[in-house]
Every structure is written in structure tokens, then in C-alpha cells.
């Protein structure tokens, strides 16, 4: 297992530039929105929660392609199914590695972005925490959608369509935590909810994705 985990990490390390593109997409989307409006500081601050979380979400959706769609196209599933590891375990390892290479940079960039959008100290802290708790859920939920559309041509768009509604609760809690912090109120309730949904999705997503892959591949 250790060897497998190291290999998984090295896969991402070998294609680290690809993985960092997730960060780049996040930054570009984050930049696009202020460009589209009159850049008044007040408006920017109000928009900030939605913009940051929206960008994180979309970066994550773009990242799904590298999560395992590409591998599936190359016949990875057969190798995984005939391996000695349970498929959910393999998927879980992959998700963790994926998050480390795509989620973590987004969290860091989100904090920077929040500062750039002129948010307050507690607001920036809320951005950091909510992204830290939220992005793993995004990866986990995304993996289910990616698995469901695994052997479709043009499945990228369908998986985006399937996954975005699932992301909504995460978005709502995440953005509201930021907005509350900005308004000087406590964020514990929102973050607590995000933590719960994180636990739930981490536990269930590998199982659901594995089931989906098997169903779809038959």
C-alpha cells in the first residue's frame, strides 16, 4: 500500500504542471469576475464570497478530467479491477493525491485572492478554513460524477452538469461562512456543517464512485 501511495503521488508529481493548471484556472476565473464589473471596492467585497467559492468550484470541475477520466480511457479500470486492492481504496488514494495537488494550491490561492479583494482579517481566515474543509468534498463529489460519465465521449460536460448541483450545498455553506465572517459574526456553525459534509463525502464518495464505475463499465 505504501508503494502504491508513493506511485500515486509520483504520478501527480510527474504531471505536476497539469495539476497546477487547476490553480491557474482558479486564478483566472477569480480574475475574470472583477473584470466584468465596475471595480468598486465595496461591490468587490460583497461579491467576494460568491466569486471565490464559484472559482474554486469551477477549478475543481475542470480538474475532474485528470482525476481519472483519462486513465479510464486508457484501460486503467481493468487493471484496477484485477488488482489486489478494493476499488474504493484505489479511488480514495487517487482522490487524496488529487486533492493534494489541486485542492491545496487552490486553498492557498484563495487566501491570497481574498486579501486582494480587500477582505477583512476574519474574512480571510474564513476563506482559508472554508476552502480547506470544502475542497476535499468537491473532489469527492466530483469523483462520483466523473465515474458516472466515465465511458462516455464528451462526458466532461455531462459530468460538469451532474456535479454542479451536488456542489451547491458546499457552495452555500462556504460562501455564507465567509459572508458571516465579513459581517463580524461567528462562522463556527457553517464550518461545522462543512466539516460534517466533508466527513460524509470522504466516507461515501469512494464507495459510490467504485459502484458507479462498475455499473458503467459493464
Amino acid at each position: 500500500m505504501g508503494a502504491l501511495w508513493i506511485r500515486e503521488l509520483r504520478s501527480y508529481w510527474q504531471s505536476r504542471f497539469e495539476a497546477l493548471q487547476c490553480l491557474a484556472v482558479f486564478s483566472v476565473v477569480l480574475l475574470l469576475f472583477p473584470l466584468g464589473v465596475d471595480p468598486e471596492p465595496e461591490l468587490l467585497r460583497l461579491m467576494a464570497p460568491a466569486v471565490i467559492w464559484g472559482s474554486a468550484l469551477l477549478a475543481c470541475v475542470f480538474g475532474l478530467e485528470t482525476l481519472f477520466r483519462q486513465d479510464l480511457r486508457e484501460g486503467w479500470l481493468e487493471q484496477a479491477q484485477t488488482s489486489i486492492w478494493p476499488l474504493p481504496l484505489l479511488l480514495a488514494l487517487r482522490m487524496v493525491a488529487h486533492w493534494m495537488f489541486t485542492g491545496v494550491p487552490v486553498v492557498l490561492a484563495g487566501v491570497l485572492g481574498a486579501a486582494a479583494l480587500g477582505m477583512s482579517e476574519p474574512g480571510i481566515r474564513a476563506v482559508g478554513w472554508s476552502l480547506l474543509l470544502g475542497t476535499p468534498s468537491l473532489v469527492a463529489l466530483g469523483s462520483v460524477a466523473a465515474a458516472l460519465t466515465a465511458n462516455l465521449t464528451g462526458g466532461a460536460m455531462l459530468s460538469a452538469l451532474l456535479v454542479l448541483p451536488l456542489y451547491v450545498p458546499v457552495l452555500i455553506f462556504g460562501a455564507s461562512a465567509i459572508a458571516l465572517a465579513e459581517a463580524g459574526q461567528g462562522t463556527d456553525a457553517s464550518l461545522y456543517l462543512m466539516g460534517c459534509s466533508l466527513l460524509l463525502s470522504i466516507l461515501l464518495a469512494p464507495l459510490a464512485s467504485a459502484a458507479a464505475l462498475k455499473v458503467v463499465a459493464e
Partner: protein, 202 residues
Amino acid sequence: MTPLLSVRQLHHERGDRELFGGLDVDIHGGEILQVVGPNGHGKSTLLRILAGLIRPDVGTLAWRGRAFTSWEDEPVAPLMWLGERPGWAAAHSVEHNWRYLRSLRGLTPDREACWIDPAWWPRRFGDLSTGQRKRASLAFIEISGAAVWFLDEPLSGLDVAMSAQWQSRMQQAASRGTAIVLVSHDALTFSPDRVLTWTGEY
């Protein structure tokens, strides 16, 4: 002797057409079974069913005499699969693919004395030629220590010399007790222990 793998009363449909209507197959250790038959009559599908990749509509699969559930219980993967898609990542180096696939099966990354040309290790798998890719996949299968190999058209793409080499390597593996099920349209240089000519109910 109980067969390594056996399937009984196999029925399976694909898109309205019944491919198998009650097929029985036994696979014994040390035996090479060649499946031949016309295009589209279900050879590849049969192989996938035997390897446990798809569940048949009707029929039971037994592994070493016990009903098959999944391959996850064994310490070392008991079977190897070569399908149309190799399962190697085109964007990664041959070496990385090798180590990854070995670790998937709980094997150490040994790479001495295998059938891969040493010059290939650092190259991207996707940059190899058709035959080189095939050979790399076969080399991996050869030193895996698995009890059964399922090979779908292993010889296609290999040049004449390589094809002959692989065939003698298969024979050696069989003599060490490996069971090999291969689908191939080509005539083999040796005569396999058993030939399943599947013309089917198609």
C-alpha cells in the same frame, strides 16, 4: 482435480443478441487455451466474463472450486489481463507505469530480466510504437507470478520474431503451471493444449 477457474451455464446478451446460451468452460493450471472464432461472436466478451470484469446475465463462475466474488482477497493478484486498451498511461514513462502497475498487484518493482528493452524505461509509453507497446504490456504480465493470464489478441502488432518469442515465453510459463487463455486469430507456432472454437449462437 478441481479446475482453477470454471464457468457453468453461461448466458450473456449484448444489445439484444444472445452471445452465449449455456456455455461451460474449465481452465486448468499449466494449460494454454486458445479461443478462436469469427469476428463479433463474443470472444472478447467471454474473456471479460472469465476475468470477472463483467458479470454474466446468467451463469456461475468458480475460482479454485469456490464461487467467485472478487479478486481482492489474495495477497498477490491471481490474474493478469491484457485487453484492447493496455491500461498503461500514455503520458507517463514506461518505468513509472511499470512500478505503478506492479504496486497495484502488490509486487515489488523488480525490473531486471524482463522482456522490455532497457532503452524504453525513461520513454513515455505513448511514444512507443504499436508493437513496442504490446511488448511492454506482455513483459509486465510475464513476470507477475499470476496463476491465470487472459490475453486478448496478444500477438497482433508484434513482428514475426517477437511473436515467436512471446509464444515460446507463453509455453515456458505454462510449463511452470500458469494457465493461459488467449484469443487469437493467428495460427500459433505450437499447438495449444486446448482450442475453443467459438462460432456461437450468433
